[in-house]
Symmetry: C2
Subunit: 438 residues, 2 copies
């Protein structure tokens, strides 16, 4: 999925590399600020980051994709209204409060968007509101209106790096990826993965380009690319109420060659999707399940997702334990439940370079076991150790490498294939999520 | 689901109560032994428990249900052959090796069954083999054949308690439940839950009665009851390759009144299913999600399962954190993915006695938050603390109480309902599963 394979020896090295990715395409500016507030629901002060992503002039070329969760947040409801609007001039993003099923949520989102639009000199419906944070809490609208001028004053062209930082919540590090595109470029930033952010529901992805492409071309390319990138990852199966992907073009540079948009988008979205998994809560290992020989792409993806979502397999990988019986269990449970008429005798399973199942039988021996352990250990991002207070927290705030646990599943049924990315299940995940709010 | 609500102050108290449940119906005997062996795949000695559950004479009244996993174990393949056989004389159960996708697995299972049958004086096909343990490993057939005479010599009527103990693996305690049935009785034993047993894949349930009911009546009742008991639980979503439920009657007592079999079966299966969840790996809280107002039973069960399978909700419950946004997320993600046209405005959600969502909006305040925390704490089985070596292990080997976290979800769409039982996600689960084999 990712087109790169990088290693970083330190936080400084990672941040320096991020800066090389962060150049804003022509026609965009970014600015951020922060504010303090006290939620009505739990009277304990909170800190919110507020980010403006603005176009120098409104564009008709934009595409959004939103969560399929049946309880969409107010910003998603507002965003769906914006989809058919004539123009987009900016996006206003807040952390800490997701504005989902909160009383008066849609009106609150519209008020914040309207004030951002006023500061930019645009019409209210030309700004998309976007939120991540606690579900059910009310947006502190007055405090946000008071803070917005500071974000507007901070707007600058050049780098999206500070915005990438400001939209993160429990992420360990910001995520920025770019690709050249014709005579312009495409840059994207992301936070979170599904509902991996504890209570700070949301994967938010903003993609900006300056090349001259139409709204229809953007939407077609985004639909196509999301299906094989963001729709092929899972950290904890919990689809957020607020997932949002926006792709916006300023149309300031010439049109790219045919196919170049989809290629650049696949590159940036593939890398960001993998970044999101690698920086998932408590993630020690990224797992890639490549399913081939399926009848359809959907069946291949379903089996891949079952593999990377199996708590038992995830826990085994966490412990560098090549417990391949759990791989077989996960594939079989999904095929059985989904009515995929798998013939065990035609299935081949690999971990790393090792065949672990063929002809309906597992192929295990002590030497192979040792090689499987080595493969798992090579893909480990860090080793687990509790803090003095007994809590488990990741000791890193950068990705030391981009290696993965590679699982191959050949079904012997057809010609369709899919690669799905997921992660292991660790003490750090439990620590982060078992008592996050209190 | 469970028809009882017991509390136990100590292991001794729990074991004494178990003995009251364990009286074998007329016409059955049970015997167990143990053996040492060295697996081919990982040359490290293992200890296997071997149990014989025998009828005093073969019966035509038996019903089996097996896993729907697409990689069924050899004992399941053999069991499916037995279903249409004329008679059943006994069941031979082993732990430690699940005999799934192991070379020569079916032949190995048949050899063990045949030797057990010979010792009982029955035909080879009159004994059902049943296995739980590591997937992919070969059954140590010779060692098992050598040990079987000891199990046969240990056969005794009276109590199923020692067999209930011998089929457990990482269970903290044995599970036995009984109900009166006409002029006889029904007793059941169980181990594990789905693939909750690390690498010891399997939920095994054996139910014995002595009342005079036909094979068809047993199968009809079992189909009906399993749908609302064992099919309504999930500890970690990992359907085992070896799940087996057997219901056998010796037909030694008069026929029960109409409907009595289903009632007794619902009682025993409901209690055993809840026992299996309560003794799930690392379980601190049993969660019951009662979904009502659904269009169909299947939709209600699907939403209930999504709730008790949400890693984020499970982790929040573990921390006694009433993070009800995650409840809403879990319901919404399933409804969205399954195409259930939920109207948020018609949905009501409760935790304990508290309404947390109504009319499409969350109803939260600090006082309610405190009451929700109290409800969660009251349902906690034990508090978490690491051992001196940093590993988390449950400090109890009996269930101190049968309280649950009660979640109510009224969908406002129809008249169907379902109660689903699940559990939280804890450090103990990760400790148990991240490095079990090594």
């Amino acid at each position: 999925m990712a087109s790169t394979s990088l290693t970083f020896a330190s936080r400084a090295e990672h941040r320096a590399w991020l800066e090389t990715q962060a150049a804003l395409p022509e026609g965009f500016r970014a600015g951020t600020t922060a504010l303090e507030f006290v939620p009505v629901e739990v009277p304990k002060p909170g800190r919110m980051k507020l980010t403006l992503l603005a176009l120098e002039r409104p564009t008709d070329a934009f595409a959004f994709k939103f969560t399929r969760n049946a309880f969409p947040g107010a910003p998603v409801l507002v965003g769906r209204r914006r989809l058919d609007g004539p123009a987009l001039g900016g996006i206003v993003v807040n952390t800490k409060v997701a504005n989902v099923c909160a009383p008066g949520g849609v009106e609150a989102a519209e008020r914040v968007a309207a004030e951002a639009a006023r500061l930019l000199g645009y019409a209210p419906h030309e700004v998309l509101p976007s939120s991540t944070g606690v579900i059910g809490w009310r947006l502190p609208v007055e405090a946000m209106l008071a803070a917005l001028p500071r974000a507007a004053a901070a707007l600058q062209p050049g780098s999206i790096r500070s915005a990438a930082e400001a939209i993160t919540t429990t992420d360990l590090y910001p995520k920025v990826r770019r690709a050249p595109l014709g005579e312009g470029s495409l840059v994207g930033i992301a936070k979170g993965a599904g509902m991996i952010e504890p209570n700070l529901a949301t994967m938010l992805v903003y993609l900006f380009t300056d090349v001259d492409v139409s709204r229809e071309a953007l939407r077609d390319a985004l639909d196509q690319v999301v299906e094989v990138t963001f729709h092929c990852i899972s950290v904890d199966t919990d689809t957020s109420t607020s997932d949002t992907i926006a792709l916006v073009s300023s149309r300031r540079r010439p049109a790219p060659p045919p196919g170049a948009l989809a290629t650049a988008l696949a590159h940036v979205c593939g890398d960001l999707a993998e970044d999101v998994v690698r920086n998932g809560e408590g993630v020690h290992h990224v797992i890639r399940a490549t399913v081939s020989g399926a009848r359809t792409f959907e069946e291949a993806r379903g089996i891949g997702k079952a593999v990377v979502s199996s708590p038992l397999l995830k826990a085994a990988v966490n412990g560098n334990d090549p417990n391949v019986g759990r791989l077989l269990c996960a594939v079989g449970k999904h095929a059985g439940a989904a009515g995929i008429p798998l013939d065990p005798a035609r299935v081949t399973m690999r971990v790393g370079d090792e065949v672990v199942l063929a002809g309906g039988e597992m192929r295990l021996d002590p030497e192979k076991e040792a090689r499987l352990v080595a493969h798992l250990k090579a893909a480990e991002l860090y080793a687990s150790a509790p803090s003095p207070d007994g809590a488990f927290r990741p000791p890193i705030d950068f990705p030391p490498h981009e290696r993965r646990v590679e699982i191959g599943i050949e079904l012997g049924m057809g010609a369709a294939a899919c690669a799905v990315l997921g992660a292991d299940l660790s003490h750090e995940y439990v620590t982060e999520n078992a008592d996050y709010r209190s």
